[in-house]
Amino acid sequence: MKVDVEVKAKPSGIDRFVYEFVRILERYTNYALVSGYVAILLGMERPTQDIDVIVDGFKSKKEFHRFLHEIEKIGYSIAIKKEWVYEIFEKRGEKIDIFTKKQWYFDFKKAKNIWDVNSVKYSIKIKKGNYVFRTAPPEIQVPYKLLLGTDKDIKDAKYIYERLKDIIDIETMKKNARLMKVDLSLIV
């Protein structure tokens, strides 16, 4: 399988755990991993508690419940009542948290704005060991992290930029940054 980025390292415990989840998810919908986990995937050493996932949406309520049933079988749980969860996620577009038995959880979010939609549609493939993950394109991810603006986000943006410099289209990233009204001079 052709990938955009190959990380030459052994997958860690968190990589195995995320892969187990996205392997099921990609059977139901398109997705993109965003935020801090992408920096960790590229080799950054920092702790995280949540993994942010943006998805396209599910075909039907039945499909969504089938997905929930499947992840429940491998030990995941959600905090919201099952009969409301589809309404909250698909109709209202609110994020839901999917917990595991361990200390992590997934921030599960439906694509709402143009940045989310393009993040899923033009997601890049990152391979680590035998695992392939889809993450948001760096041209969107880097300025978006700067838009969030916390210390942690700026560090992540800088790290992602440094690691993926070779494949980043600077012009596209600058245009996106201009639209988001963020200053790229912090990292470029």
């Binding site: 955009d4 990380v7 940045w115 033009y122 890049i124 394109p137 993926l164």
Partner: protein, 62 residues
């Protein structure tokens, strides 16, 4: 800190840059929109736009 090695070659197409609503309008339409009387805008558009337009006219007058 030891850096993990990375091999990168872009195969996924670049994401398009989204266009703003104003950019999507042609130059002529943008001009026509600007030249419309305030009463027309008050009737057809949101009050927020009206405020924006009034403010702009005030600046022009000064």
């Amino acid at each position: 800190m030891k850096k993990t090695k990375i091999k990168a070659k872009r195969i996924t197409p670049l994401p398009p840059v989204p266009k703003l609503a104003r950019q999507r309008m042609g130059k002529k339409r943008r001009y026509e929109e600007y030249m419309r009387p305030i009463e027309y805008i008050a009737k057809h558009r949101s009050p927020k736009i009206l405020l924006y337009k009034k403010a702009r006219r005030r600046v022009v007058k000064q």
